[in-house]
Symmetry: C2
Subunit: 210 residues, 2 copies
Amino acid sequence: MSRRARVSPNQILAAAALEFAQRGFAGARVDRIARRARVNKAMLYYHFRSKQGLYRTLLRRTFTLAAERIRTVAASAGSPADKVDRIIAELADLIHEHAFFPAIMLREVAEGGAHLDRETLLTLVAVPREVGGVVQEGIKQGLFRNVNPLFAHITMLAPIVFYLASGPIRKELGALHLTNLPLSPDDFIHHMQEVMRRALAREARPRPTS
Amino acid sequence: MSRRARVSPNQILAAAALEFAQRGFAGARVDRIARRARVNKAMLYYHFRSKQGLYRTLLRRTFTLAAERIRTVAASAGSPADKVDRIIAELADLIHEHAFFPAIMLREVAEGGAHLDRETLLTLVAVPREVGGVVQEGIKQGLFRNVNPLFAHITMLAPIVFYLASGPIRKELGALHLTNLPLSPDDFIHHMQEVMRRALAREARPRPTS
DNA sequence: GTCTATACTTCGATAGAC
DNA sequence: GTCTATCGAAGTATAGAC
């Protein structure tokens, strides 16, 4: 009765995420993706037209998911400061659920978006747009200082991506006794929440009354 | 009289920096590096043993240079807050002089240090060590809050690298009318100096006297 | 040290049977 | 939809003359 389950494109995408994150577009091997997904290579080409087609599909999904989750926070109730806090936590959750996120993002930035078509770029900009919206909301309400929204976005996103992507290299350094013990990702997230509270606050240091 | 100048390995390294930054280790083509350096491909293999040998030589040079420049600032006179300011400016200068820095760093983090041998890793950790030292100095003197030095280092380094590496992709987004005009790198550096002052300050927001 | 020509390998992609 | 076998391009590396 139970026939073998149909091969789902999702299996392939999951395997591709690992491979592309670990090796980048050029370093990724289609054979390895097929093997990890337990699919025949021809099957992979049947579902996605090419290596590039597979890559773009993966990135579109990834960015779309991230943008949706951030949008949900941005559109929710609460003060702008509160939303920034929750956006940071949401990013951490996203990365926790999809460990391949940070490496893919770092690579795409380094690559200058070489493999991205217009549609994929569109899904990509949705994230900074959402975050920027929250920052502007805070400025308008007089709660944040007049900071550039894109700057604020990069200030919060980059360290999180960087720290969580650098887990492997920190682990290797630890193994060679070149550095201290790694700290928990949670600690870093709390750190970034504190940093952003301070970075955005209207007045960080009350001016002396002279 | 004037015979053709001897091919210097430096020409090759400069070309390799561009190629590796743009395409990553796997995506880089030895032919292209040779052509950009105006050297024969065999010449390249004569000076460096292999593609990997060339890559490692480049990274060692890069990290060593960065660590030396940061060390100079860290060892200079001045308050810790002042040094943090100048380290940020120094990083910006380094990147301005060597545009390939950010992409290479992002890629190595994403790669998990896959192409790095022990010696190269040693030169790599020198940078966080120097920055961490300055932060600890500030904490000891009661000028900074008790922040984790590695966290502080990543908080300042990641956005700079990220912003300066994302120039091409922001430019592309601008061309597609998907985003606003790009801002000057200088503005971003000033932004990060302000952010780090706030992030490290002993007391950012005076507690209400209840 | 420098160059040309080429050996050898890997990999993306497809043809064609079922 | 699924699989096996294989083609053809691209790429690292080297042999060997100068």
